[in-house]
């Protein structure tokens, strides 16, 4: 747990304009109350089971394991959750909370579009108005998800400023929230931003790790040796890791290496960043010497972000979790590999975690157990990958 002010060690906090401070205090209270609220818990559990489709399977990827010839690889199938990614776990819970708080409208940022789709879905489910902010560049590479959001009744607002990706969408969503805070809840999509978002989103995602623990014990009679997840803001990784933090399990978070760290075109905050204060919290940040935020690049919109959840910075400094990165090319190769070996097209984000598996698994013994968070399915990326390969659909 973070401290009372939302700090994980020296990371976190609440750095926002005064206009939002009362809303964050109200949200903090509502969230901590919901943990003890039977009615909220019953509704959420019911929705997880009947609407989201939980528990999601833990699948032994036999052919990928064979292909790599080392560690035994399990995939936690968040791609099979409703709307196709782990984002729904958090979005439905936050929209339910917003409804209980009496809010009439929800807004969200989105990068890959999965969080936008998940929030639009939650809003449709509970009958709230919904507006999603998305950078122009992301709208181009995730066209399918833009249309899905519109089908779900959400308004999608293009953000053409700055780097025209996730960070700019968050700026715009925060500006909207500053103007609409009395009636609107901001559904932050990852373990980032001002307290209580990092702890709240982790809590709503931690169901992933709790299920995984039960499932691996049932399948193998013991805990895994490795957990591997990609890290954008860090919600699918925290969701998987949290239940195992006190166990003797190695954990690896995989950032986006883009075109390579040396090119400067990447989103590997731990490889190229330093401590900063950005969009509500203190954490590692890709910034220049004057404290301006640098542009980032990743083939995957969901990992293309200049900062990282504060709890990850804490876990990195303490050494509890190790962080690696995968380049665009490595992720694209992993994207194709899993499609062929196991008939599962992963999201490009998740493909970064799979790329790390590809580097480690072959050297490990066959009784090593590795669990990878397959955070989303790749349907949304199919057009983008075709374009990269120069194939006209």
């Amino acid at each position: 747990m973070p401290d009372r002010r939302g700090y994980f060690g020296i990371y976190g906090g609440r750095f926002v304009p005064e206009t939002l401070m009362p809303a964050l205090e109200e949200l903090e209270e509502a969230f901590f109350h919901s943990l003890r609220d039977k009615n909220f818990q019953l509704q959420l559990t019911h929705l997880q089971k009947t609407y989201i489709g939980r528990p999601t399977p833990l699948y032994f990827a036999e052919r990928l394991t064979e292909h790599l010839g080392g560690a035994k690889i399990y995939l936690k199938r968040e791609d099979l959750a409703h709307t196709g990614a782990h984002k729904i776990n958090n979005a439905v819970a936050q929209v339910l909370l917003a409804k209980m708080m009496g809010k009439k409208r929800v807004i969200a940022e989105t990068g890959a579009g999965q969080h936008g789709v998940a929030t639009a879905t939650g809003a449709a489910l509970f009958g709230l108005d919904c507006e999603i902010y998305m950078g122009t560049e992301d709208m181009e590479r995730q066209v399918l998800n833009v249309f899905r959001m519109k089908l779900l009744g959400a308004k999608v607002t293009e953000v053409p400023t700055g780097s025209r990706t996730l960070k700019d969408a968050i700026n715009e969503a925060l500006r909207d929230w500053t103007s609409s805070v009395r009636t609107t809840h901001y559904v932050m999509g990852t373990v980032f931003g001002p307290h209580p978002f990092p702890v709240m989103v982790r809590h709503f995602q931690s169901v992933i790790g709790r299920e995984t623990k039960r499932q691996i014990l049932a399948a193998e009679g013991r805990l895994p040796d490795y957990l591997i997840a990609c890290v954008g803001g860090g919600s699918n990784a925290m969701g998987l890791f949290y239940a195992f933090l006190a166990d003797a399990v190695e954990m690896i978070g995989v950032e986006a290496g883009g075109k390579g760290i040396e090119t400067g075109e990447h989103a590997a905050r731990f490889a190229g960043g330093s401590i900063g204060v950005f969009q509500g919290c203190k954490s590692y940040l890709l910034q220049d010497n004057n404290g301006n935020v640098l542009g980032t690049h990743s083939v995957s919109a969901g990992l293309d972000y200049a900062s990282i959840g504060p709890e990850h910075s804490f876990l990195k400094d303490s050494g509890r979790v190790r962080y690696a990165y995968a380049t665009d090319d490595e992720a694209l190769a992993a994207f194709e590999l899993l499609s062929k070996t196991d008939g599962i097209i992963p999201a490009l984000e998740s493909a970064h975690a799979l790329a790390e598996v590809g580097k480690r698994a072959p050297a490990l013994s066959q009784n090593t157990l590795m669990v990878v968070n397959l955070s989303g399915r790749g349907d949304k990326d199919v057009q983008h990958v075709a374009r990269i390969k120069g194939i006209k659909l």
Binding site: R14, V16, E18, P22, T178, V181, G291
Partner: protein, 259 residues
């Protein structure tokens, strides 16, 4: 503690007058232009000048100041260049200067170094919109010891608890945000501001200046009646770029309206 800002408000209060506080983004479109504008502000009767520091992600600002920040950044304006600009400016004017900056440039610069260098350069106060008092304990203490005023924001959404906390941490003046929103939005004068400012006054003797959304001389006149000073930003920046010939007349009309 006596500071240039507190002395200014004291003098105005004695005269029964209100402060005119215009804003300009430093380095937009150039440092020479900014200097010219600050001197024009003084000529037009400004009491305090607010200088913006450009930042890549100004989340409390509307499109006008966002674009001003982009232009200033393109010209290579940084927190460092702003401080040396102010040192220079101090050779030609003694008008109280307040810096408006986001926190990350300050954090990156080194908070203590920033406070002492800003003070040495001749800055009188700082406003950091994304640094609420809850995160500013050390910042306020160090600023106090250097005689730098820490100006915090209150908003229409502020609760009793927030008002207490913000008034306690604020020195120089309190910045009351006229609308729940970002800079450059439209002002809505529905009578609630009067009630909220009266409420804030129960907790502080500090002057209260109002900004965000003030655009016309009529707005300024209305707001001045309820407060101790009026801050005008986006509307000035907009005129500077769209209608520079009219800027001086506009500033004079604001000055006349603020009584």
């Amino acid at each position: 503690m006596k500071t240039r800002i507190s002395e200014t408000f004291k003098k105005l209060r004695k005269l029964g007058k209100k402060a005119f506080i215009p804003y300009i983004m430093t380095g937009d479109p150039s440092l020479e232009k900014t200097k010219e504008i600050v001197l024009l502000f003084e000529e037009c009767g400004a009491d305090i000048v607010e200088l913006g520091v450009p930042f890549s992600d100004p989340l409390a600002d509307g499109p006008t100041i966002q674009r001003a920040a982009e232009r200033a950044l393109q010209n290579g304006t940084t927190l460092r260049t702003v401080l040396s600009f102010v040192s220079n400016l101090r050779q030609v004017t003694q008008i109280p200067l307040v810096l408006m900056t986001y926190f990350n440039p300050v954090f990156r610069y080194g908070t203590e170094d920033f406070i002492s260098n800003a003070r040495n350069a001749g800055i009188d106060g700082v406003i950091i919109p994304d640094l609420p008092p809850d995160e500013a304990g050390d910042f306020v203490r160090t600023s106090r010891s250097h005689g730098l005023d820490t100006i915090f924001l209150l908003a229409p959404t502020s609760t009793e608890k927030r008002i207490k906390r913000v008034t306690k941490a604020s020195h120089g003046f309190i910045y009351y945000v006229a609308i729940a929103g970002i800079t450059g939005a439209n002002l809505l004068l529905d009578g609630s501001m009067e009630i909220l400012i009266a409420h804030i006054r129960q907790y502080t003797e500090n002057p209260i200046a109002v900004g965000f959304g003030v655009s016309t001389p009529d707005d300024a006149a209305h707001v001045a009646k309820l407060s101790d000073g009026v801050i005008i930003g986006s509307a000035i920046v907009k005129r500077l770029h769209e209608n520079p010939d009219k800027l001086k007349d506009y500033l004079f009309s604001l000055r006349q309206a603020i009584t």
